[in-house]
């Protein structure tokens, strides 16, 4: 885009030939011929990089720049002309989108499957990992045999496990709030 337009400052001379390009296929944002073209559900044509930047500029108000209909990344259709070299979805190759963000949905989609298969285990695994040892030792009377054997230090044992419980609870609350 930048190189082709660099000799553009000539104001009137180039006028005629440029208009003969195809104004029908101009991006509604940069007014240049649409590159990595996408079309909205309301029928408006954009370069994907242009539209992406528009959506990024107003994340809370995702409206079509032309008609203000609702619009979004999932609500546009990429256009593949015959002349295009690679038939890759333009939405996959916008520079501003970091690679890390793309890997995120994959792990998310894997996780529910894992949790589903393991049923109840998943529940206690997710939340209870930290206080796990404490919960088993406090609420499971059979596990108290060691402390019963060493009757001399039951209070200290209890005190320490309570300490850990509080630490664990604060940690979980902090996790939830963060």
């Amino acid at each position: 885009m930048e190189t082709t337009n660099a000799p553009g400052p000539s104001k009137s001379g180039k006028d005629g030939e440029e208009k003969e390009e195809n104004p029908l296929f101009e991006c509604n944002i940069c007014l240049d011929t649409a590159k990595d073209a996408v079309v909205s559900m309301c029928g408006h044509l954009f370069c994907w990089p242009c539209l992406h930047q528009w959506l990024e500029t107003r994340p809370t108000r995702q409206l079509c720049p032309v008609c203000k209909a609702a619009i979004g990344k999932d609500k546009v259709i990429p256009l593949y002309g015959r002349g295009s070299n690679q038939q890759e979805d333009p939405r996959n190759k916008v520079p501003p989108r970091p690679a890390g963000q793309r890997s995120e949905p994959e792990t998310n989609s894997g996780f529910p499957g894992f949790g589903f298969g393991d049923g109840g285990f998943h529940m206690s695994f997710g939340i209870g990992a930290f206080p796990f040892g404490f919960i088993t030792s406090t609420f499971n009377p059979h596990d108290q045999r060691p402390s019963q054997a060493a009757r001399g230090l039951p209070n200290e044992d209890e005190f320490i496990s309570k300490m850990f419980l509080y630490v664990a609870i604060t940690f979980i609350i902090w996790l939830l709030l963060a």
């Binding site: 885009m1 509604n28 944002i29 242009c50 108000r61 720049p65």
Partner: protein, 199 residues
Amino acid sequence: MANIAAQRIKREFKEVIKSEEVAKCAIRLELIGDSFTELRGEIGGPPDTPYEGGLFVLEIKIPETYPFNPPKVRFVTKIWHPNISSVTGAICLDILKDQWAAAMTLRTVLLSLQALMASPEPDDPQDAVVAKQFKENEEMFRLTARYWTSEYAGGPNENQDFQRKVQRLIDMGIESDRACVALSAYNWDLERATEQLFS
């Protein structure tokens, strides 16, 4: 400046140049310098309004993030309008703020401003004094706006009475613009305007 902004302005500039509004002398656009960051717009006062016959100059500044953010537009020509500050020329228009859309152009902005001149919105005012006058005494508003058009925008002047009152205040040593503002704000009541100016 980001390349997309300069590129857009170049293209829009051509669009305004060739559009038929220019032929009718309704809107004009010219560049200031070579940077494509600042332009000067001109709007002809719409017919059947107090602004008819006037030529209103606008200052247009293009932000680096254009067209994803709106251009900054301000009236340079003084104008008496509920949605335009009579002091600074600041404009209250939604498309220049949160209702901006990237597909809008300088051409549509100028046309929108022309439409705003033709239909003021006194319930969403920029200049409270003007808006109050518009709501309470629309005929007085029209006369005042027409006088301002003749005084500042080169419109025809038919109001000898207002001119005489301004001249009276000038004779008392008041600067012409201040005299005009004071008289306009007090519905051209010479006594009250004088009182306010000397209090």
